[in-house]
Symmetry: C2
Subunit: 258 residues, 2 copies
């Protein structure tokens, strides 16, 4: 195969043999799938996990709730596309955002082949509540995780009164994978901070861990572990307006510029 042929084909990434070329050609190489990003924006308060959903106005899944998403532009990276979606659809910038998994079942979108690169983002509850939830098609879904630990699998969405929300596409599997990922991450990284404001008490942090993991954690050993980790920085200030002894406020020692 000549370089010219490779250029005409235009998309040949692994032209290591004639067979590979022919195979790619036979597979209808001129037809390409669509590529999108979907973002599971997670937050936590009152011992519940939440995610931002948007009501679909059109078929398929009209009236169902979907994660914010959009097409990947030809000139932007995947990370940039995800950040753009988060900015345009949730008005959020500078939050924790990480690639999660790519979903590519040929039937996942009934119209045409759409491969989606799923991301997940974490924000504290104040910023999450500040998202334009006023708009009629925006919604806050309570995440109901029907499995323990890191088993994995789809989750269910409910409104804040407990009513089931119908989910579009495979988005409940995406959020399920996000929950599984963040549960795993809690074991060895300080990702829980991303769900809290800049300053927080040890109890706040413990509640976040319990919410994500779905079960209580030992208070004593949690405090010891967190303080020994070196990731926390005491501010010297204390919380106010509580009907009991106020706890000291801490800050994440290497919080990335937000």
């Amino acid at each position: 195969m000549s370089d010219v042929a490779a250029n005409v084909l235009g998309t040949q990434v692994d032209a290591d043999s004639e067979e590979a070329f022919l195979q790619a050609y036979d597979a209808g190489e001129f037809e390409h799938p669509s590529v999108t990003v979907d973002v599971a924006l997670l937050s936590a308060w009152e011992h519940q996990l939440f995610t931002l959903v948007i009501r679909r106005a059109e078929h398929p899944f009209r009236g169902c709730w979907a994660l914010p998403g959009g097409f990947v532009g030809m000139q932007e990276s995947l990370d940039e596309a995800a950040a753009r979606v988060l900015r345009d659809k949730a008005g959020l910038e500078g939050v924790f955002l990480e690639q999660l998994y790519t979903f590519g079942d040929p039937q996942r979108d009934p119209r045409t082949r759409v491969i989606t690169v799923a991301y997940y983002a974490l924000v504290d509850s104040a910023r999450f509540r500040g998202v334009n939830v006023d708009e009629a098609d925006r919604g806050v879904a309570v995440i109901d995780v029907p499995w323990e630990a890191e088993t994995g699998g789809p989750v269910e969405f409910a409104d804040e009164q407990g009513g089931t929300l119908l989910t579009a596409f495979d988005h409940s599997a995406i959020v399920g994978m996000a929950v599984k990922r963040i549960r795993g991450k809690l074991n060895y990284t300080p990702v829980g901070f991303q769900l809290l404001p800049l300053e927080f008490t040890l109890r706040d942090l413990q509640v976040v861990h319990e919410t994500v993991r779905g079960h209580p954690v030992n208070k004593d050993s949690f405090r010891r572990r967190m303080l020994a980790s070196g990731e926390l920085e005491a501010t010297g200030r204390r919380q106010g307006d509580v009907g009991h002894r106020p706890a000291e406020l801490y800050r994440f020692a290497r919080r990335s510029a937000v």
Copy 2:
């Protein structure tokens, strides 16, 4: 926007507003990126990690070494595409194969926009050596990891004499991510078995762990931890042909059908 418009567009995944529609349209929605899968096939022996590479016959990166890869067919899932690549390019079936990360930098392929969904696969050294390495364009690359623990970052490829191998595209970053992933997995899953034959000694398993992690592990506690995990099953047989007391052979208790 009407359903008809959505169908004409054909790829509209999140038609929640007129703005979203226009934005997708303006972004040149009829132009789609190419989507490929690349597979980092890893194995380990003699305290070194190896990966299968294929020499590129054409530009770009002519003469450099690339991971086996191929286009995702319009009718196959991502997992199926990765399994097909592994079968066609390495002659392997039924091995551990898992999605790793999706690389989508707009400049990663100099010809056109190619988004690749990277996978990694694990095989024992005997099966790896059985791969058609005889063909002139197949190669075995020694993986040199220039970072500790789970820092992450690209790795370097060398031939078995220590000479540097030039890497195509971002494939050294893909393998770097695979090494990072498997190092993390060793902490909480029995993925090390995938790099060993059906039966193995505790020392074999320890050497695999040391090879992946890049540093020695404590023998006593390693043995205790593995035996206590319940993942190992003693076969009652012992290894032969060694110039010392032969160790007992174990088997992974829930080894998936291979």
